[in-house]
Symmetry: C2
Subunit: 312 residues, 2 copies
């Protein structure tokens, strides 16, 4: 399994006894990312068994409290736990100043290095890349500067078809690297064995887009086109669409419209306004536009189980 | 009942699933105070039915996260709840800068006025006073600048002994004010009726001292002498006393020694280190020195039920 999302919090505005502000833990291609960090996130991480030491990258969408006020507590706890590894924090400009001021005032001499990546662009940009995953911003439209994040697995190597390879004595272990990279094999006779005979196509690279908070913003569709899983906020139902303009949030129908137009595999909605005690109605509204909808629920784990080969 | 303490959190260091950092809600003589505000305090306030609108004064002992990181979230929530009343915050210098920076970055345009009372003195001082209550600092010794707080009810008026008053036709309603203030009454004959015959002594004014975090600091004893209830941290047991010097905390025995020397009515201990899963041993250790000890437990309410007249 290469994509697994644990929802640590999915409610808007204020923490309540059974309502936790936004935070998600994403495991993608053996990378471990924390996305947003509302107050109480570290408690939720403990509750849902998220390993603190696995987190090396934290992505903050914007500096509203329900997405951000748990960060300083988590950083302090990392310090108390004697973390030594670098921690990378991506978020709006200002996040460095306020974090460093809090650490200074509390005289929290953390031993690890915090590397801030402050964002200011209003265009989608590549902000992280290694051999496994690339992360891009998704510029959103909220009351403060806000980005969503797009997480994309890098294409994987082809898998060796050992039974077929064994038919050719000339193919040695040192050739496997080229085979995994998709290259054909030329026998000493000059005959070319097609790569497709010697390897099996890998899984299609998975992708996940996180889009919260934002008002309806159709121009993100090209950025998130064909993602396997889209988390998109749906703070209100359509009956309160007039509040979206003022508060710069979306309705369930609008989230579903983005999902449909972007041809995503699955839509997860959350960030429900506290005025709704039953959130099933969000799913019902979204499904009038787009069928494959899940409701974000605290503590639930969403996996991407599509197993379609990237190519054959 | 004039003194009621609700423990919202009583653990040290990091929030965990069933361990909440320091916060207490004190009701004293119809005043409502929040003392310290670790991460998750607003959730605990909701859980234990602490009315948000009753809080007009918040006292922060020091700027370590387990006493302070929940403040900004609470202030933001006050804003979301459309608070308009002034809010007074008492705490170490720096609290204004960091709070205002966070509010600015999150563009939380709260409608109410936050009045900061930044503390820098190393001597006990009167920091709040009205007709019901006075609050004094208790300088403590921790790794950062720290104050405890002493809450003292103002002496109450004497209660009218209506049956006895009715024996004297000359005493009119307009005289009651003087009687409540303890004055004798002179009849037109020149005879003096002693106040004690016409009134009943009020309850002794209650007092509560909050002392966390601190290493053993005997010079606070004169400040907290004879308080009804003392909350004193006890992070470690005596067997780990050597850690107290390094971390500037106290043992249960040390807390009890302060309680004994200050002749307090009751000692409540808390701020347990996370290394102790069972905290009964803290009570046992403290009771080797001072008998009337309670363990702070999250969600518990401690009332001061002593009903001793102040004087007769």
């Amino acid at each position: 399994m290469s994509l697994k999302l644990t929802v640590l919090g999915c409610h808007s505005a204020t923490p309540r006894v059974n309502a936790h502000p936004t935070s998600q833990y994403l495991e993608i291609n053996n990378r471990h990312f924390l996305i947003d960090c509302g107050e109480g996130t570290q408690r939720q991480m403990r509750k849902y068994k998220v390993g603190f030491s696995k987190i090396n990258h934290i992505f903050i969408s914007h500096l509203h409290g329900d997405h951000f006020f748990g960060l300083i507590g988590l950083l302090s706890t990392f310090g108390i736990l004697n973390r030594e590894k670098d921690l990378h924090i991506f978020g709006p400009k200002g996040i460095k100043q306020v974090t460093e001021l809090q650490l200074k005032l509390s005289m929290s001499h953390v031993k690890y290095n915090i590397v801030f990546h402050e964002l200011t662009s209003h265009k989608s940009e590549l902000i992280f890349e290694d051999d496994k995953v690339a992360v891009y911003t998704i510029p959103l439209n909220h009351r403060v500067y806000t980005n969503g994040y797009l997480f994309k697995e890098k294409p994987k190597s082809r898998n060796l078809h050992i039974d077929n390879i064994k038919q050719y004595d000339e193919i040695e272990i040192c050739d496997y690297h080229n085979l995994k990279a998709g290259k054909d094999f030329m026998l000493s006779s000059g005959e070319i064995i097609a790569n497709e005979e010697l390897t099996i196509a890998p899984e299609k690279p998975k992708s996940f887009a996180f889009c919260s908070d934002t008002m309806f913003k159709p121009d993100i569709v090209p950025i998130i086109k064909d993602v396997d899983v889209l988390y998109h906020e749906a703070t209100f139902l359509k009956e309160l669409e007039h509040l979206c303009e003022k508060t710069k949030h979306s309705t369930a129908e609008q989230a579903a419209t983005i999902a449909k137009n972007a041809n995503v595999g699955k839509l997860i909605i959350g960030h429900y306004s506290s005025r709704y005690s039953d959130v099933e109605c969000f799913k019902e509204e979204a499904q009038t536009v787009f069928e494959n909808v899940d409701l974000a629920r605290v503590g639930e784990v969403y996996t991407c189980t599509t197993n379609i080969p990237a190519h054959v």
